[in-house]
C-alpha cells in the first residue's frame, strides 16, 4: 500500500491550480532524485570494468548515458525553480547509506548483487516515485517537470525490464537466486529505513509487463545475452583436441609423467602446480577459451574438482611429434569456485 504523501493530489473537485508542493519544495525533491540518479550513473560507469559478463557489461554501458541525461534534465530544471543548477542532495543520511550499500559489491563474482541492487531495488523504486510524482504534479504550472518525469519513466521501465532479462540469464542456479534474494532483501530494508529517495515514504511499486517490447532502440537485453553465449564447439584441429584431452585426462588422474609427455622441452609442469591441482580432487575438465596466435593456439582449460576449480592457460604448437604444449601456466586456483 502506498504511503499517504503519494496519494493523487488532483482529486475531482480539487481546484486545478492546487498543488502538492511549493517551488522550493519541488526543487528539493528534484535534488533528492538527482542525488540517486547521479550516484547510480557513476556507479554503473565504474562497474563496467569490474563486471566479467558481456551481457551485463553492455547493459550497464547502455544505461549510463540515459542516467546521465536524467541527471542533466533534473539539474537543468533547478534554476527554473529558483535553485542552483546541477546540484544533488541526499534526502537523509539513511538514503546515502542505502546508496553506499548499492555500491558495495565490486568483486568480479558479484555481478548478481550489482544488478539486483540497481535493477530490482533502486530503479523500480525510482520508477514508482516518478510515477507517483507524475500523478500529483500540477498540470497547469508544472508541465516542465511532467515532461522530465515522463521521459524518465519510459527509460526506467525499459531499464528494469532489460535488467531482469540479464539477471534471469545470470541467475543460473537456485543458489544464485537465493543470493540475489538475500541481497535484495537487505537493500529493501535499507531503502525502507530511508523512507525512499525523497525521505517521504515508499510509493506503491509499479507493475511491469514483461512482454512489452523495446520500442525505439536496439537495447534488447536478449541480444546482449546472445552476444555473451560461448561457442558450443571449439574450432580446433582434431589432433589438437585429442592432445588437449589426453593431457587434461592425465592431470585429472594425477599422472604427471603422462601429462609431461604432452609438453615441449620449454614447458614444465611444476610440482607446486601439480600439488595445487591434486588438492582440488579434480573430476572433470573442459576447454573454456581458444585463441589463435599465427599457427599456435592458446587454450584455457578449466579443471573442476570436489574442492574447487582451477584455470590452466596453455599454448600449443604443432611439432614433428604432433601438438605439444610449449607453455603451461596455472592461472587461477579457487577453492570456492565449484562447477
Amino acid at each position: 500500500m502506498a504511503d499517504a504523501p503519494f496519494a493523487r493530489a488532483c482529486e475531482p473537485g480539487v481546484h486545478p491550480l492546487a498543488g502538492f508542493a511549493s517551488a522550493d519544495e519541488s526543487a528539493r525533491l528534484i535534488r533528492n532524485c538527482r542525488y540517486a540518479v547521479e550516484r547510480m550513473m557513476r556507479t554503473l560507469g565504474g562497474w563496467i570494468a569490474l563486471t566479467p559478463e558481456l551481457s551485463a557489461k553492455l547493459l550497464l554501458g547502455r544505461h549510463v548515458w540515459d542516467c546521465a541525461q536524467h541527471a542533466d534534465l533534473l539539474g537543468k530544471r533547478l534554476p527554473e525553480l529558483r535553485a542552483r543548477a546541477q546540484v544533488s542532495e541526499a534526502a537523509n543520511a539513511e538514503f546515502a547509506a542505502f546508496m553506499d550499500a548499492i555500491e558495495e559489491p565490486e568483486q568480479p563474482g558479484q555481478t548478481i548483487e550489482r544488478l539486483v541492487g540497481v535493477y530490482r531495488v533502486l530503479k523500480p523504486h525510482l520508477l514508482a516515485t516518478y510515477e507517483a510524482d507524475l500523478r500529483r504534479v500540477n498540470q497547469v504550472y508544472e508541465p516542465p517537470t511532467q515532461k522530465i518525469l515522463a521521459r524518465m519513466i519510459e527509460d526506467e521501465r525499459q531499464h528494469v525490464q532489460a535488467g531482469r532479462v540479464v539477471i534471469g540469464h545470470l541467475c543460473a542456479s537456485a543458489a544464485l537466486e537465493d543470493r540475489a534474494q538475500a541481497w535484495q532483501a537487505r537493500l529493501e530494508a535499507l531503502l525502507a529505513t530511508a523512507r525512499g529517495v525523497t525521505g517521504a515514504g515508499l510509493p506503491e511499486s509499479t507493475a511491469l509487463d514483461a512482454s512489452t517490447p523495446f520500442p525505439m532502440l536496439n537495447d534488447d537485453a536478449h541480444q546482449f545475452v546472445r552476444l555473451e553465449r560461448p561457442l558450443s564447439r571449439w574450432p580446433m584441429p582434431e589432433a589438437l583436441e585429442d592432445a588437449v584431452r589426453a593431457f587434461a585426462d592425465a592431470l585429472l588422474s594425477g599422472d604427471t609423467e603422462a601429462a609431461r609427455q604432452w609438453l615441449t622441452s620449454t614447458a614444465d609442469l611444476h610440482e607446486g602446480a601439480a600439488t595445487a591441482l591434486a588438492q582440488l580432487s579434480p573430476q572433470a575438465h573442459r576447454v573454456v577459451a581458444l585463441a589463435r596466435i599465427g599457427q599456435k593456439r592458446a587454450v584455457k582449460i578449466r579443471i573442476e574438482g570436489r574442492a574447487g576449480a582451477a584455470m590452466l592457460l596453455t599454448r600449443w604448437s604443432s611439432t614433428d611429434g604432433g601438438w605439444r604444449a610449449e607453455l603451461l601456466e596455472l592461472a587461477r586456483v579457487d577453492p570456492a569456485l565449484t562447477a
Binding site: 570494468a49 565490486e106 573454456v288 577459451a289 592458446a298 592457460l313
Partner: protein, 251 residues
C-alpha cells in the same frame, strides 16, 4: 567505491585470453608473420576486427571509469564521457556482429590491454589526451582505411558499419581536444604532462610502422588527415605525428 582502480582489476569472461602486446607480436614474428594484421586478406581483417572489438570494450570500460573516478570534474565533462560509454557499447555490439560476419568468434585472438592501461591514467586530462586523442585518433586512421578496403573488396556490411563508427570516433577525438584544453586551462604544467602522455602513445602505437602518411593504396594504414582535422587536430600536430611514424617501435 574504490577510485581509481588498479589496471589488473579489469574483469573478463573466461573465453578471453589476455596477453601482452609485445609477446603476441614476438610470437608472430617468430613464425614469420607480420606483428600486426595487415588488412591484406579476409583473415587479417578478421583479426584486426577482433582487436578493435576488444579495444572498444576497453574504451567503454575506460570511459565508464572516467564517469566514476572524477565526480568533481565539470558536469559537461561527465556528460561527454557518459555519452562516450553509450557509443562504445554500440561499437562493441557492432564489432562482435562484424566478427561473426567475417566468420570469427569472441576470444578467437588474444586480448591485449594497451587501451585499458592508458585509460587508467590518474589525471582526467591525461586520459582524454591519451585515449580520446592518441588512441581514438589511431582508430580514425584504421577505420578510415578499413572503409576504403571494404569498398575495394566489395563488402558493404563492413563498409557501412565501420563508416558510422568512424563518425563516432571523430566525435570522441573532438571531445578529447575540447577537454584537454578546458581541463588544463591556467595549468600549463598539467597540459604539458597530458600532451607528453599522448605523444608517447602516438610514438608507441604506430602498428609496427604500418601507419604512415600517404594514399590509401600506397601505405598499409594511411593517417586520416581529414578525420583528424574534424576532431580538432592542428596541421602542426598531424605533421608531428607523421614524423613519429618514421621512428616507430615494433608494436
Amino acid at each position: 567505491m574504490e577510485r581509481p582502480i588498479a589496471y589488473d582489476k579489469l574483469a573478463r569472461e573466461d573465453r578471453f585470453v589476455r596477453m601482452r602486446a609485445r609477446d603476441v607480436a614476438q610470437l608472430k614474428v617468430e613464425q614469420g608473420l607480420p606483428p600486426f594484421p595487415d588488412l591484406t586478406s579476409r583473415e587479417s581483417i578478421k583479426e584486426r576486427v577482433h582487436g578493435i572489438m576488444v579495444g572498444e570494450l576497453q574504451a567503454m570500460e575506460g570511459a565508464g571509469r572516467t564517469v566514476c573516478d572524477f565526480p568533481d570534474a565539470p558536469w559537461e565533462f561527465t556528460m561527454d564521457m557518459a555519452r562516450q560509454v553509450w557509443d562504445e557499447s554500440r561499437h562493441v555490439d557492432i564489432y562482435i556482429r562484424l566478427l561473426e560476419h567475417l566468420g570469427g568468434y569472441v576470444g578467437e585472438f588474444p586480448e591485449t590491454t594497451i587501451l585499458w592501461r592508458c585509460a587508467c591514467a590518474e589525471d582526467a586530462a591525461a586520459r582524454v589526451a591519451g585515449v580520446n586523442r592518441g588512441l581514438e585518433g589511431l582508430a580514425c586512421d584504421v577505420f578510415n582505411q578499413m572503409v576504403h578496403i571494404a569498398r575495394k573488396i566489395g563488402d558493404p556490411i563492413l563498409e557501412r558499419a565501420v563508416d558510422f563508427v568512424l563518425a563516432d570516433e571523430i566525435t570522441h577525438v573532438r571531445m578529447g581536444s575540447k577537454w584537454l584544453t578546458r581541463l588544463t586551462e591556467g595549468d600549463p604544467e598539467r597540459r604539458r604532462r597530458a600532451v607528453e602522455f599522448q605523444e608517447s602513445i602516438d610514438e608507441r602505437f604506430n602498428l609496427g610502422g604500418a601507419r604512415r602518411d600517404g594514399d590509401h593504396d600506397a601505405v598499409p594504414i594511411s593517417i586520416a588527415r581529414e578525420a583528424r582535422e574534424l576532431g580538432g587536430f592542428t596541421g602542426e600536430e598531424i605533421e608531428r605525428l607523421i614524423k613519429t611514424t618514421q621512428r616507430s617501435q615494433v608494436y
